[in-house]
């Protein structure tokens, strides 16, 4: 994504929004100017910022947890036919279930606080990383493995010099693909049993206080968070996987 294209996209969205606001003329669709005013004040007085940080922490913690658990398991499944035969059917049964359906159950089991929210986003990322890393590990040419073994590599060196670097791009692809879903589900998860997070902020302002400009400010913050995460993954990929650049 080029910087200029992003700028243009933002500009077009703001114009469309402004025009729509002028046509509708209702409090439920405030103009972008009104929203940006409250965005700035709420950011400055810490209202919005604290919710933003709470949400970001939940996303980052679950991302970390998902990679830490799914990547090694994916490598194992990709390399061992036997394990793959045992676990794949299970994975294919669980993978297509929209994880958002587990929200009530997870909340029931893990109660209030950050942990249940982290678990829900974790579930989404976990399967995505698992599937992609497994496929990547399974697609490593046997010739590559054999020739690295002939250089003296045992299991540990193969992991360090072949499997780990081979699975990095798969992890990053998985993250890029699931950042959007993760943010969407974060919103749902934050509707319940919390007073922190952008989901709460949006819902509280929109449905309880009827403060629509603040609600939109929350939505903008959510969108910016998704964008920021997406760019971070891109940046890491350019750093860690330079061979993928065409």
């Amino acid at each position: 994504m080029k910087r200029r294209d992003l700028f243009l996209a933002v500009l077009v969205l703001i114009i469309v929004w402004q025009v729509a606001a002028m046509v509708v003329q209702r409090p439920i669709l405030p103009s972008p100017i009104e929203v940006s005013k409250i965005f700035v004040t709420d950011l400055e007085n810490g209202q919005l910022a604290q919710h933003f940080v709470a949400s970001l922490w939940r996303v980052l913690a679950s991302t970390f947890l998902a990679i830490a658990l799914a990547a090694p398991l994916g490598l194992l499944l990709g390399q061992s036919k036997r394990f793959n035969n045992i676990f794949s059917p299970m994975m294919y049964l669980l993978y297509p279930i929209p994880k958002v359906v587990f929200v009530p159950i997870v909340l029931l089991f893990f109660g209030i606080g950050d942990f249940p929210k982290i678990i829900i986003i974790f579930l989404i990322l976990f399967f995505q990383v698992l599937v992609l890393v497994r496929d990547r590990a399974a697609s490593i040419h046997p010739e590559l493995i054999q020739s690295v073994r002939s250089l003296g590599a045992g299991r540990r060196a193969l992991f360090r010099f072949v499997y780990l670097p081979a699975s990095l791009p798969a992890i990053l692809t998985a993250l890029r693909q699931s950042v959007g879903t993760a943010v969407a589900v974060l919103y749902i998860a934050e509707l319940f049993a919390t007073q922190k997070g952008l989901g709460y902020y949006i819902y509280y302002n929109g449905s309880t206080l009827f403060n629509y400009p603040a609600m939109y400010a929350g939505i903008v913050a959510l969108s910016l968070m998704g964008l920021g995460l997406y760019f971070s993954v891109d940046w890491i990929e350019r750093r860690v996987c330079p061979w993928q650049q065409a």
Binding site: Q146, V148, S150, L151, G152
Partner: protein, 253 residues
């Protein structure tokens, strides 16, 4: 250097490629193993590399039974041998890095291994200096095989195993690399076993040629070709006569 004693090898699926097969390779010899695809020549190389194990019989290398990949054996495959995410230089360093990773344990690396990762002389010797920071998919097939050679020779092997190393290259590049292989074989005092399906390649590089046929292979059919392994050999009538003879023998088997 190499001794195969009454070796048999059967794939789990049931194909027997070698049955009571005995073969000897002397130190410093240059062998070509010639045969059609499916004759078991790649399997033979994997057996010699310690990556597969015989169903029965024994393999000795340097008078020791072979139980795992041996630090002083180098293996070069046709393709896919390089790490796609590492530059030419990093690929050339890989063997040394793996040795440093384990340290001189006598299993993954020789006991007397000195920790070192300097591959500059090899990059220069093989003309890879200008492309050392490129990734494998950005360089030519010939340069990729040179990188594989650099990586292997940086470990100072005494036995070099090559599986169809040049068959995906165009003719001039192939001849250049064949000449290079001969030079390195002499320079580094290597024992060379090169597997190929190309009669010309076997005749150029093999001072001795082992002909394999449809499996199971049990008798060794060997041709002496002591004129080989010199660059001018391709132009001699001896070479032409040998290729004709080999072609006939290959059809008979």
């Amino acid at each position: 250097m190499i001794l195969l004693e009454h070796l048999s090898f059967t794939y789990p699926k049931g194909t027997t490629v070698f049955q009571d097969f005995t073969w000897k390779v002397g130190r410093g010899e240059a062998w070509a193993v010639l045969g059609p695809s499916g004759c078991g020549k790649t399997t033979l190389l994997y057996l010699l590399a310690g990556l597969r194990f015989p169903t029965s019989g024994k393999i000795f290398i340097d008078e020791r039974p072979l139980t795992r990949p041996r630090p002083h054996t180098g293996l070069i495959l046709q393709d896919y041998g390089l790490l796609p995410w590492a530059t030419v230089r990093k690929n050339a360093e890989l063997g040394l890095q793996i040795r440093s990773f384990y340290g001189p344990d006598g299993k993954h690396a020789p006991d007397n291994f000195q920790l070192a990762t300097n591959v500059d002389p090899w990059l220069e010797r093989l003309g890879l200096g200008p492309v050392q920071d490129q990734f494998p998919h950005k360089i030519s097939g010939g340069q990729r095989q040179r990188t594989a050679i650099a990586r292997t020779l940086a470990l100072q092997p005494d036995l070099l195993l090559m599986d169809e190393p040049f068959s995906s290259l165009d003719a001039p590049t192939r001849e250049g690399l064949q000449n290079l292989t001969m030079e390195l074989w002499q320079e580094q005092n290597l024992t060379l076993v090169l597997v190929t399906h190309a009669i010309e390649e076997a005749a150029v590089l093999g001072q001795k040629i082992l002909l394999l046929g449809h499996p199971p292979n049990s008798s060794t059919v060997i041709f002496d070709n002591l004129g080989a392994a010199r660059p001018s050999f391709r132009d001699t009538s001896e070479y032409i006569a040998l290729t004709r003879h080999l072609r006939k023998k290959m059809e008979e088997r």
